[in-house]
Symmetry: C2
DNA sequence: GTTTTTTTGTGACCGAGTCTGGTTATGAGA
DNA sequence: TCTCATAACCAGACTCGGTCACAAAAAAAC
């Protein structure tokens, strides 16, 4: 029902490959910092903050500047390769955008701050129908559920 | 379908009254700044940023400090009288919380930044059912739809 | 009206995110 | 392979939303 953390499977490498190609096609050069960010994100399935990305890269001895992380994320978001979401607590989070609307949403524990992903087809359905009724050109959507996780009750 | 800006009607005064009572019951004294914030919010039906609240109060010659605005909002959120939401673009927004789950969600135009409210019973329904399936004690939820408004297309 | 306690405003402060300038790496063309 | 224009990089300065600390002002309690 609520897949916790899917183990690495092929779609992640697919994403990395797609990302690399898309960036090249759009005329971006292959610098170290951006590549490192793409590699890290590829191995990740749920959202990370820019700071987390920065820290993890340093742990792996990829000394990229924080500004480069933001720049890379900005480019990736522009190419619709990552999805940025605001999750409260001041600060955006980023996750790889999988193709074909295959996406999940997030539950936040207001106690411990833990973020968990979930998928729910009926919810997607309701949103899709709703999108047709709005006078907007709908591109993406985020659903954020607040509550208290099992551990904090 | 998507009510733009409902004219002031009784529920707003109800909210103001309820807010005042709740605050008094919880032992808060009636200072000028918090009262001003409550009054302003009561006349508002959709979300405002702290900065917007601060500015509008100054326009009305209520010289409240920005810290007081944040403090008032923090208290009101704690009493579940206002709902805080993250809408992107760095910064929270606040709106009066109407009783009984009677709430709306928001569409953001990624071009001009305009925020519009909408209601959608089927969506609420899907979320309610989903909440039962999650291992969390769900308290609130936000749905944020990104797109391009009619004016920006 | 005096005392006690909350509330308020100011200004210093913090941290996420952005911008800038100078440096380094990339890739295309000779 | 060498050159060179340009993209990408990093560090550090800066912006801006939000918080903290503290002294002054205002409520309630007496």
């Amino acid at each position: 029902m609520a897949p916790k953390a899917k183990p690495a499977h092929h779609s992640e490498h697919e994403w990395e490959q797609r990302a690399t190609e898309t960036l090249a096609d759009s005329g971006y050069r292959s610098g170290g910092a951006r590549t490192a960010v793409v590699e890290l994100l590829a191995g990740q399935d749920c959202c990370l903050s820019a700071q987390q990305i920065h820290d993890r890269l340093r742990e792996r001895d990829r000394k990229v500047g924080i500004a480069s992380v933001y720049r890379a994320l900005e480019v990736l978001e522009g190419e619709e390769l990552v999805h940025r979401l605001e999750v409260g607590e001041g600060g955006s989070r980023y996750e790889p955008a999988l193709p074909g609307g295959d996406h999940h949403h997030h539950v936040i524990c207001d106690d411990c701050g833990k973020v968990t992903a979930f998928e729910d087809p009926p919810l997607e359905d309701a949103i899709e129908k709703l999108a047709g009724r709005l006078p907007h050109m709908v591109s993406t959507h985020d659903v954020i559920i607040h509550g208290r996780c099992a551990g904090c009750s």
